[in-house]
């Protein structure tokens, strides 16, 4: 099973911000992390990740800097900013709403149908 492109794109921002909320990171590591977290089900491309990082930087949600960690190559590291944290919180709220609504539908479809019918029943 592969997650569809639209869904990947929609969830990209909270995912990147969430990973960066754990500490600064660079492109390749972020991609690896997403791969690990989703067991390779999320099909992320570089063409998605890097422009997204640059957009988040332009919006001020992340900052970047070229750093050389001892023993490793010089890399462009990304760090989340306070506005990025606020954005993450907002995104989390929205996703929670979506996820809980979907769960409520899927856990017990019959309940939902009945509860949707109740107002009508009450009137009658």
């Amino acid at each position: 099973m592969k997650v569809t492109k639209d869904l990947v794109a929609a969830s990209a921002t909270p995912m990147v911000l969430g990973i960066l909320a754990d500490g600064e990171s660079y492109g390749y590591a972020i991609l690896r992390r997403i791969n690990e977290l989703s067991d390779g089900e999320l099909d992320w491309t570089e063409g998605l990740l890097y422009p997204l990082l640059h957009r988040l930087e332009r919006l001020g949600h992340v900052e970047s800097s070229w750093q050389s960690v001892p023993g490793e190559r010089r890399r462009k590291y990304y760090r989340i900013t306070s506005s990025g944290l606020a954005e993450l919180a907002e995104q989390q709220r929205q996703w929670d709403t979506v996820v809980s609504a979907l769960k409520a539908i899927w856990v017990d479809p019959g309940d939902v149908r009945r509860s949707a019918a109740t107002p009508l029943g009450g009137l009658a």
Binding site: Y26, G27, Y28, A29, L31, T45, E46, G47, L48, Y50, P51, L52, H54, R55, R58, W66, R73, R74, R75, K76
Partner: protein, 466 residues
């Protein structure tokens, strides 16, 4: 860094060498994308290296790992498209004048260019005020400033170009001598303020001087047809930029006048004595510098204008010819008519030149070439009719410097266009290569320069300083 997982040191290092060569090739390939800047390339390269390291650790040979990693990165087209969606401004080629490019070497060079340009522009602005120290006012002594004006601007532009091209001492000597000769021609003849020769010198000396600038422009290889064509392109772009700067200058002047007058100060003296003369001569240098700086960054505008106006001019000229035949009225040869038709030929030649300058010499003849042939031929027919009428007048009433100069120019342009039309006909019929037309035009350049010099140097004594 050695590749882990390789059996011994030597293969590892040679594998590493190939890998570095592959990376270098990839970098070179990716950098040509306007959407991807230097820092993006570095970031992607780091990504690629991360991927390669992982694959090598998993047991692949470095070159195999590289191929797999590049494949995983996906098509460059798609990647560029994604980058372009975020950085759409990069597709609008921005003219970065100094700094801000991602290449430090280009940065220092463009900064040095800027400094040299500022020195030359300031030099030009200062030089035009120097005669004032000797009591020559800009408004009273028009007879001095008019013919000399180009001598305050063009030597500075030539100096800038010569500096940029690292011209040899011999060439610099020739240029200095020609500018000096120009100064002599403009000043030694006893010309009255209202003489025709003064006007002719005022018009022709800048042309002669411009070809000296051309000498500086083609400093590295003056005989090369390609370099001369570059000079033609430079001339067109320089003109367009100068006009744009002049428009901006006009806005600046209008605001200066308006705002200062609003507080009761009249800035007219400052504008006519300082802003205008200094601004114009400095703008010439700035325009030249802009063309040099933007060369490969911004699309040439002169050929675009050519494309727009060639069909329109062709239509206008054909309509004129039809009307001429229809009404059977002869051309009324007024005094200005010859100059008008000279200018018409100049415009037609300009349209021809700038479409040649932008054309791919190897492309087969197309509709546009036929259109151009029609334009040139109709201009030629009109001009022959005009010449016919005017020669009658001249033989009747004798000649003046103005008529002689206008007639000479007409003949020069006519000769050029007639042979061009012949070559174009051959090209449209696929008999002659396009390069012949290009060579004819670039080879003809010295003729214009020669004629300008003749008018400046020989006409005044020839017509007894009339």
């Amino acid at each position: 860094m050695t590749a882990p997982g390789s059996p011994d040191g030597t293969t590892a290092s040679s594998g590493q060498d190939t890998l570095e060569a592959q990376f270098a090739q990839w970098r070179h390939y990716v950098r040509r994308r306007p959407e991807l800047q230097r820092s993006d390339t570095e970031e992607l390269e780091d990504h690629l290296r991360g991927s390669v390291d992982e694959l090598v650790a998993a047991g692949l040979r470095p070159d195999e790992a590289f191929l797999v990693a590049v494949k995983r990165l996906g098509g460059l087209d798609e990647l560029s498209r994604e980058f372009a969606r975020e950085h759409s401004e990069r597709l609008w080629k921005q003219l970065v004048l100094t700094g801000g490019t991602d290449d430090p070497e280009t940065d220092t060079r463009s900064r040095r260019d800027l400094i040299a340009m500022i020195i030359c522009a300031v030099g030009a602005a200062v030089s035009i005020k120097i005669p004032e120290l000797f009591g020559l006012g800009f408004q009273q002594d028009g007879a001095f400033y008019a013919p000399n004006f180009s001598l305050f601007a063009l030597p500075w532009l030539a100096a800038y170009l010569a500096w940029r091209r690292r011209a040899g001492t011999a060439l610099i000597g020739v240029m200095v001598a020609l500018f000096a000769l120009g100064a002599v021609a403009a000043n030694v003849y006893p010309l009255a303020e209202d003489s025709q020769s003064l006007v002719l010198t005022t018009i022709h000396l800048p042309i002669a001087m411009w070809f000296v600038v051309g000498l500086a422009y083609v400093a590295d290889d003056p005989r090369s047809s390609r370099r001369r064509m570059d000079f033609i392109r430079f001339t067109g772009e320089c003109f367009v930029y100068f006009v744009l700067i002049a428009l901006g200058g006009g806005v600046l002047t209008a605001f200066t006048v308006g705002t200062f007058q609003a507080i009761g100060i009249d800035p007219e003296g400052f504008i006519s004595q300082w802003l205008l003369p200094c601004g114009v001569v400095a703008a010439v240098v700035v325009a030249g510098w802009l063309v040099e700086a933007k060369q490969s960054v911004v699309e040439n505008i002169a050929p675009v204008l050519t494309r727009l106006f060639t069909p329109l001019f062709t239509a206008a000229l054909l309509a004129f010819l039809v009307a001429l035949v229809w009404t059977t009225a002869g051309i009324n040869v007024e005094r200005e008519a010859l100059i008008l038709f000279d200018l018409l030929l100049v415009v037609v030649l300009g349209l021809l030149l700038y479409s040649i300058s932008a054309r791919d010499p190897l492309a087969p003849p197309g509709l546009f070439d036929r259109l151009q042939l029609a334009l040139v031929v109709s201009a030629l027919i009109i001009d022959v009719l005009v010449l016919w009428a005017i020669t009658e007048r001249i033989t009747e009433y004798g000649t003046t410097p103005n008529k002689a100069a206008a007639l000479g120019e007409n003949v020069i342009l006519l000769a050029n266009l007639a042979w061009s039309a012949w070559l174009m006909l051959g090209f449209v019929r696929r008999r002659t290569p396009f390069a012949a037309l290009e060579r004819w035009q670039t080879g003809y350049l010295p003729v214009y320069a020669g004629w300008a010099w003749i008018v400046v140097l020989l006409f005044p004594p020839l017509f007894s300083y009339l």
